[in-house]
């Protein structure tokens, strides 16, 4: 059920400012693709164009094509709400809904969409929490507030919430940057398991993390501040980290940046 993403000639704008320019890449189903690059080069912006979250920001607009299998996300008549049900997202900072319990948080996507059967709900919540490796830690406190969990647990709760609606693709925007190394390890293990079922795209500032979890790595860079970010290259992670074809990639990875 995982789907292929095929991006061609994509540019994204904030008002009149072009944040990313002419990006084309293919993301294979059931793989993990990592985006690396300096701050402000448009990794997160590009990630958000993949489930039409970019246009939620005021002034955000997109040119180009994003094919999910054989459907253009930016085609005429495409409902962004339907796109986001296919392409889920996990954010940098854990953001469980503060008014809801652990159970309600995981069930939120289904409940708020109104597309569920009551009898199935408990099963789906259990399955999602198990999928996020959180079930054993929270099974006795499903009715406690979700914001009472630790930061790492909250982030896994957000992953459980995202996979409960059975998306085809899971986007992760620096999911570990607010977490300690042990919680990070838990999330990285989880990513390894989740790629059996989903297509995963992850933005990270941690190059070791990109090397550990991803199959393919894309390097983004920008010529100067105020210039749009560009995709420099995308290749197998091993190649990117051992023998990249572009000098700038090697400079960035080896710390000789700038």
């Amino acid at each position: 059920m995982a789907k292929r993403i095929d991006v061609s000639g994509l540019s994204a704008y904030y008002g009149s400012f072009r944040a990313i320019e002419d990006i084309s890449m293919t993301v294979e189903p059931r793989t993990v693709t990592a985006f690396i690059g300096p701050s402000g080069c448009g990794k997160s912006t590009f990630l958000r164009t993949l489930n039409r979250m970019h246009e939620v920001t005021s002034g955000g607009r997109v040119e180009g094509k994003v094919m999910l299998d054989d459907e253009n996300l930016y085609g005429p008549g495409v409902d962004p709400v339907a796109v986001r049900r296919e392409v889920g997202m996990v954010f940098q900072r854990p953001n469980p809904f503060p008014t809801m319990s652990v159970f309600e948080n995981v069930a939120a996507g289904l409940k708020l969409n109104g597309s569920y059967k009551k009898s199935e709900l408990a099963d789906i919540v259990e399955k999602s929490l198990k999928g996020a490796n959180l079930w054993n830690e929270v099974k006795d406190r499903l009715n406690k507030p979700g914001s009472g969990l630790s930061g790492g647990q909250q982030q896994r709760l957000c992953i459980a919430r995202a996979i409960a609606v059975e998306p085809k693709v899971l986007l992760m925007d620096e999911p570990c940057s607010a977490l300690d190394p042990i919680s990070t390890l838990a999330i990285e293990d989880l990513i390894g398991e989740l790629k059996e079922r989903f297509t995963i795209v992850i933005v990270t500032h941690n190059m070791q993390q990109a090397a550990r979890v991803s199959d393919r790595t894309a390097f983004f860079n920008l010529a100067a501040v105020g210039q749009p970010g560009k995709l420099i290259e995308i290749d197998d992670t091993e190649r990117i980290f051992s023998n990249p074809s572009v000098q700038a990639t090697e400079d960035y990875i080896s710390g000789r940046f700038g």
């Binding site: 939620v56 049900r85 889920g88 954010f91 503060p98 939120a108 996507g109 957000c158 609606v165």
Partner: protein, 354 residues
């Protein structure tokens, strides 16, 4: 060891300076009160308010002078800032406490079940007896109807401004809400009165509700707007990213997260309009008898009752007592609303417990 200690003792410490003892602010306060009483008696000042202001001034000056002399100028500035905060606190609290005290002590005289359950129907304003039942009914109905009109419109306007509003229209709405906040209540009353005159209508309760709704709406919009802005954008994005439509995100995530603050804002707005007299005087007119129907005939309301008892009774003590008792009822009504708002805010607040 002893040698080292002796050496440090001989040098003047740069970290420790002379300092006033801990009880000095109290002593200065007591001294300035004593001096002001002396001045007051000597100069024959009648007003206790003047005594208090003199005491406050002497306290400020003495604090600065003594501290500057003993501790140095920087500490003196620190002390005078502390003293100013205390004086400001007292200036704010003393009138408030005295207002509540006077209202309670004068209001309890005639406030009993009989007073709360009878109208002024057969009692002349100058005679003892009678009650405020008709005024309570009128106030509850007028304020209730005003809330039913103003709260939904105000909350929805705030939702539009925060969640959807872009560009010219939302700027215009914000501007007019600001203007409406400054509309004097008598002007709102006159506006409704002009409509009533066009349609040749007699005073009735609902007309007052309309004027009160005009006064209430901007307050609700402003407070709700602030509460909605406090909801982190991350929650909206989390919900949208789950494929939840925007309207359901607002309904199920944004509003529940901020419901406590919104309710508090509405309650405060109700408290504000519950004490309005001018539009009620123009539009509801006042009535000695019980009128349960807000849509026909003149009604009474608590603030209007207080005004009329004071104004129309030619100095009869019975009327003054009733006015104070009605004031106490009005204050109690507003306080109960505030307590209810706090209870709801605490009950609905986002939970953080483990």
């Amino acid at each position: 060891m002893s040698h080292a200690a002796a050496v440090t003792d001989q040098r003047p410490s740069t970290l420790r300076g002379a300092s006033l003892p801990k009880w000095s602010p109290w002593a200065i306060a007591a001294g300035s009160v004593a001096v002001s009483v002396g001045i007051g008696l000597a100069a024959g000042l009648d007003s206790k308010v003047q005594w208090g202001l003199i005491a406050g001034l002497i306290f400020l000056v003495a604090t600065y002078g003594i501290a500057a002399g003993v501790e140095g100028r920087r500490q003196a500035k620190d002390r005078i800032a502390t003293a100013l905060v205390w004086v400001a606190f007292l200036v704010a609290v003393v009138p408030l406490v005295s207002l509540v005290w006077v209202t309670v002590s004068r209001g309890v005289k005639v406030l009993d079940i009989y007073f709360l359950t009878h109208s002024m129907g057969i009692v002349a304003d100058s005679q003892p007896g009678g009650g405020i039942y008709h005024a309570i009914i009128g106030s509850l109905e007028q304020v209730g109807l005003a809330t039913i009109i103003a709260a939904p419109v105000g909350i929805l306007t705030a939702v539009y401004l925060v969640e959807y509003g872009r560009g010219g229209l939302s700027r215009a709405i914000t501007f007019f809400v600001d203007v409406m906040t400054g509309v004097p209540s008598i002007v709102a009353g006159l506006f409704i009165l002009s409509l009533m005159l066009i349609f040749n209508m007699e005073p009735f309760g609902f007309a007052g509700s309309l004027a009160l709704a005009i006064l209430m709406m901007p307050v609700v919009v402003r407070s709700t707007e602030e509460m909605l802005k406090l909801v982190p954008n991350e929650l909206r994005e989390a919900s949208l990213a789950l494929g939840v439509p925007k309207w359901r995100t607002i309904l199920k995530v944004v509003l529940p997260t901020s419901i406590g603050g919104i309710v508090t804002g509405v309650m405060l707005a109700i408290a504000r309009i519950a004490g309005e007299t001018a539009p009620v005087l123009l539009l509801v007119f006042g009535n000695r008898f019980i009128n349960n129907n807000p849509f026909e005939g003149a009604q009474q309301s608590l603030p209007l009752y207080i005004y009329q008892q004071y104004a129309n009774s030619a100095g009869a003590n019975a009327a003054y007592d009733r006015a104070w008792a009605a004031s106490l009822t009005l204050i109690a009504f507003v306080m109960i609303l505030n307590l209810a708002a706090r209870a709801i805010a605490r009950w609905k607040a986002p939970k953080t417990g483990r």
